[in-house]
């Protein structure tokens, strides 16, 4: 994808977004005009501002066709291939981390994420990987649960009971 085609795609996407917002306001049945004696209707600001957004997107597309901006003339690649790979892999792994946090708990998913990120993506030694795999959950536990007293998600009840053992131990012997 070149910078030129990305510019056109973005113009079309913003135009569709603006039209979608206008349709959303109309579909909800909000008053688009001025209500006599009270002020602007509920849908006035979103609708007319989205119309302005649509006009700005149209202006961007027209300027692209005329070739006025330097981006609309440039044929350089938009994103390099290795950058796309890294960004996609990082985004997907963080999303999987978020999903797993609600299944197996924060600490186990954090350990899996560190293992994947440091060893398989970063290709570091096993020593450094183990340091992160063990150190990150311990640091997060000490900072957020012990010091700041925030309860992090522990996942399904099966896994939560395992961590409650640790919390019981802490509250029984340390306070």
């Amino acid at each position: 994808m070149t910078v030129r085609s990305a510019e056109l795609l973005m113009g079309i996407a913003t135009l569709l977004l603006s039209l979608g917002l206008m349709w959303n306001v109309w579909a909800d049945g909000l008053t688009i005009g001025w209500v006599e004696g009270r002020g602007p209707g509920a849908g006035m600001w979103p609708f007319w501002l989205s119309l302005g957004m649509a006009l700005a997107s149209l202006a961007t597309i027209v300027r692209w066709v005329q070739g006025k901006t330097p981006e609309s003339r440039s044929l350089e690649p938009y994103i390099a291939n290795e950058t796309i790979f890294l960004v996609v892999v990082s985004a997907v792994s963080i999303f999987v981390l978020l999903v797993l946090m609600n299944v197996i708990g924060t600490y186990l998913s954090l350990m899996l994420f560190m293992l994947f990120y440091v060893r398989f993506l970063g290709k570091h030694t096993w020593g450094m990987t183990m340091a992160f795999v063990l150190g990150a959950p311990i640091f997060v536990y000490l900072l957020f649960e012990v010091a700041l007293n925030k309860y992090l998600p522990k996942g399904w009840p099966m896994f939560e009971e395992g961590f409650l053992w640790l919390d019981n131990f802490r509250w029984q012997y340390f306070y």
Partner: protein, 216 residues
Amino acid sequence: MEAILIPLGNGLLQAFEPLNLFMIFAGCLAGLFVGCMPGLGSVNGVAILLPVTFLVPPTAAIIFLAALYYGAMYGGAISSITLGIPGASTAVATVFDGRPMAQRGEADKALMAAAIASFIGGTVSIVLFTLFAPPLAAFALKFGPQEEFALMLLAFATFIGLGGDDIPKTIFSILLGLVMAAIGFDIISGQPRMIFFDMVEFQRGIGFLVLAIGIY
């Protein structure tokens, strides 16, 4: 003048207590780390470490958070100069001069210059702010809806003036921000607008803290 100096003197006496001195040290250290990381900024760091107020007396907690903020202001310069990646949004300008200096082998001079500039800037701004805060507050209280509208108009005109040659994109960004502010309940009629996918969280609108952490 006494109304300013006497509380300031009391505050300075409190700042020299051992716990508060330790909080200054810990806050600056944490702030350096937070500012250095490209993902975290000063606002992020303060928001995440707000629960420190539960652990220590309130004065010490405020001192810690303020020291964190100041540390993050300088910490952003560290990764800007050494890596070329701005650590915080306040350190973007440091990349332009600091990175070429580091590439020439003068990274220590660049870091020292950034530190001294941070110190002088912070000190002067604190002194001016302390002296001018009461009259500024009295003036700001006189702001009515017309003045706030004029402020908004000035802000948008500045965006377009600074936006360069691509005016439609700047206008789009401004209008997108305004439309995002309209999510939630309408003030005048009380009707819900733009509650996407009927998610209840949208009824409160997009929170300022969420935006500050996500964008800054």
